[in-house]
């Protein structure tokens, strides 16, 4: 490791202008588990390996900017099935689901316009292990 010996990623910030709306989306629509460390003003969700933290930028003196296209890739067992479920919940996707030759991906935006991917790699990694 280099200079700072970063050990892991403690969280990724999801910018929002409406914390409660975002909490409903990540908790209910996406079905993520709310971390018990959460408070009324700091809400975290667990994804299996990385914590997502809802951040209201205006509260800390920053302008709101959404995450750009594809900023966060969520692994799902079946991209087509997960996409169909979200579309039934009213989520609009950007373009068709793609097959890159190693993975399927589909891009959507959360209610704040943050760019999220549904992602499933089906090819083995270079070391032969499978996702």
């Amino acid at each position: 490791m280099g200079l700072i010996e970063a050990q892991r990623v403690d969280f990724v910030s999801i910018p929002t202008r409406d914390r409660e709306r975002a909490a409903r989306f990540y908790g209910e629509t996406l079905g993520l588990e709310r971390n018990p460390n959460s408070t009324d003003t700091w809400i975290e969700f667990e994804t299996g390996n990385v914590t997502l933290a809802l951040v209201v930028p205006e509260e800390i003196g920053l302008d709101f900017q959404p995450l750009p296209f594809g900023a966060l890739a969520l692994r799902v067992p079946d991209v087509a099935a997960a996409r169909a479920g979200l579309e039934d919940a009213g989520i609009e996707f950007r373009g068709e689901t793609w097959d890159s030759g190693v993975c399927h991906g589909a891009a959507f935006q959360d209610p704040d316009g943050n760019g999220i991917l549904l992602h499933h790699r089906y090819a083995p990694y270079r070391d032969g292990s499978t996702p």
């Binding site: 403690d10 018990p36 969520l74």
Partner: protein, 123 residues
């Protein structure tokens, strides 16, 4: 729907060579894979993907994702990075449960040095 994992967090760059120097040399993250317009770095339990969107005709935008890198000591890590010319946004914050210091990569993507010192809540 079932979400199993975060496969990667993606930052965009306008200069892949500059990004490589910053992430691999300054921050010291391990490169997993590398191409002409993109690279993947190991960030502990998650992959950080860095990509030049101009290579597929897409616009650049910096990410406000505030990627929180766990370090042993925020003050010490900050001093190391400042000595390498990294500029931080404001003072290190003590939230009451953690220390955090906000900085940006050369493309303006936002990161944090982070260390929680309070015990986790009971599950």
């Amino acid at each position: 729907m079932e979400i199993e994992h975060v496969d990667f967090v993606s930052f965009l760059t306008q200069d892949i060579g500059r990004a490589r120097r910053f992430y691999a040399d300054t921050l010291g993250l391990e490169i997993e894979t590398e191409g002409e317009h993109d690279m993947e770095l190991s960030c502990g339990q998650v992959t950080l993907d860095i990509f030049d969107p101009s290579s597929i005709g897409q616009p650049f935008a910096p990410s406000p994702a505030g990627l929180a890198l766990r370090v042993a000591d925020v003050a010490a890590a900050r001093a190391e990075l400042e000595a390498k010319g990294v500029e931080f946004d404001g003072e290190t914050i003590d939230t009451g449960v953690c220390h955090q210091a906000l900085f940006r990569d050369p493309d303006g993507n936002s990161l944090l040095l982070h260390r929680r010192y309070a015990p986790a809540a009971a599950r």
